[in-house]
């Protein structure tokens, strides 16, 4: 059980063109809290800063100001604290074709995090865990999948491997950065449902980053709408979608394809 909180986080990039430099406030004063067992959706279009939020949560970028707290305590410095953080906060990347190294087998991708975060396990135990992870993401027979290489798998299968990899350290928080937007339409549902059942089994806190309002509504408990670096609206999923308060949310909702509304218009 882990809670993750972003408190008033800002990220400023310096853009240089020639001798002048301008500031790009990618993320400006963002605060939210992730609790176990709950899914929070971070909805925004490209350029809204949601990817930067993900990178900061994964320590791939440092906030310019503000704090990231795990279980209400700041993250310490040094290798040990870093490894501890990474064992509790993990990420599923967007691109199923780019997030797996074409050189290594599926088994290798899962072995590494298991070994890193459970250094005392023997070879046989590591292997058992790898196979168990594959079965959890419904890649059976696990032995067969473990020795395959990424290019032998379909997009959906690769994304399941990516999910398995994220679960290997047994984290408490999962950041899913547009996990299905690059997958074929008919398999998106399966992957999202898999994430949902895994969340329930492990009592994970999930941050679901997406640009798609519809899946955000159905998949999450709370929605944060992000625009130009700030969170312009937040609330329970159904409230934000069905009764938007902020202008931008209303624009987003009006712009999203809405078959129900269209059918009403046509009928």
């Amino acid at each position: 059980m882990t809670t993750l909180e972003m408190r008033d986080v800002t990220k400023v990039y310096k853009l240089r063109s020639g001798f002048r430099s301008a500031d790009l406030r990618a993320v400006d004063g963002v605060s939210f809290r992730l609790e176990p067992g709950r899914t929070t959706a971070l909805v925004g279009q490209s350029g809204s800063g949601k990817s930067t939020v993900a990178k900061m949560l994964m320590h791939l970028e440092r906030p310019t100001s503000g704090r990231i707290l795990v279980d209400d305590a700041p993250v310490g410095r040094g290798r040990r604290a870093e490894v501890a953080y990474r064992s509790r906060v993990q990420m599923v990347f967007q691109d199923p074709f780019g997030s797996l190294n074409p050189y290594h087998s599926v088994g290798h991708h899962l072995e590494r995090p298991v070994r890193l975060h459970h250094p005392r396990l023997g070879d046989a135990e590591v292997r058992e865990r790898v196979l168990a992870l594959l079965r959890r993401v419904r890649l059976d027979p696990a032995e067969d999948y473990a020795q395959r290489r990424p290019h032998e798998l379909s997009g959906g299968q690769r994304q399941r491997v990516a999910i398995a990899r994220a679960l290997a350290p047994e984290p408490g928080i999962l950041v899913a950065d547009e996990p299905v937007s690059m997958l074929d339409v008919s398999i998106r549902l399966g992957v999202l449902n898999l994430l949902a059942s895994l969340q329930e089994e492990d009592d994970l806190g999930v941050l679901y980053i997406t640009h798609d309002l519809a899946t955000a509504r159905h998949f999450s408990d709370e929605i944060l709408v992000m625009h130009r670096g700030t969170i312009v609206e937040r609330g329970p999923a159904d409230d934000v979608i069905l009764r938007p308060q902020h202008d931008y949310t209303k624009t987003l909702r009006a712009a999203s394809p809405d078959p129900e509304r269209r059918l009403a218009e046509l009928a």
Binding site: F97, G98, N101, Y103, R149
Partner: protein, 331 residues
Amino acid sequence: MSITSSEIVGSVDTASVDVPAGAPPGGGRRRVPLPPLTPKLVVGLSIVVAFVLFGLLGPLVVQDPSAVDSIGMTAPSADHLLGTTQTGQDVLAQLAYATRGSLLIGAIVGVLTLVLSAFFGVVGAYAGGLTDEAFSLLSNVMLVIPGLPLVIVISSYVQDKSVLLVALVLAVTGWAGSARVLRGFTLSVRGRDYVLAARVAGERPWRVLVVEILPNLIPLLASQVVMAVIFAILGEAGLSFLGLGATGSFTWGTMLYYAQNGLALRLGAWWWFVPPGLAIAVFGAALSLVNYSIDEIINPKLRSQTRAERKGWRRRARTATVATDPTEVAA
């Protein structure tokens, strides 16, 4: 999905370019990719191997290359299969020793270039920040420094240059180009999701470099090393021809130098300058063939079987349109 992906080859995912072509699927262990065994590669490799054997074993069976004889410049005969130089030295013997010398230079330069360009290119790009800026600056400066004047300066200080010194000079002036290429590639690989994923999983930086990034660089590194060897051999030949090389040792270039000095061309003593010249050309060509094969891993579109297939398609398409019944087209 762009048209180059699954729409073309059905349900098979066409992965990115750095998928190893020759690597068999289902391999559990990491495997170094091998180039596909095309005629190009076979020819290139055989020639290279032949030369290496000649350079290794030749000097053990031939006469003494420095033995002077009063017979002077003679055409090829039973005694001297490739004739003699103007001082009566056996050309074939010289060629064997020269092969060894040139290959040695090539090998030294290859290894040195690999080490230097990998360090300044790959490590610099991976580290990022100030390290990257510093290394990149150094590479660019080294690129700009002209090699030939540098060698001339060195040769004015050191009269009797050894093979090692020439190799060193060539390596020092040649690594920078390679480093730039490697840096560019490393920068692109560094940003890829699977490298980020490894960092997110908690891998140490050096492991990320060695385990995730380096395997993808192997084909490029191999190609750069082969190019460095070609450059070394040609460079050495050029330097020696100008008299700036290791004139005390036997290399293909020094043979040409002495042949030029002995007026071999004017006197028609083809047996003196054609063998070393041909050796340079053929060996360089063989290495290039090997390099093209390596390129086929880096860029699968270059594979000859793919090109041949494409030519087959064009032929079929042309015959198909000719064979169709030309009906009246309503204009």
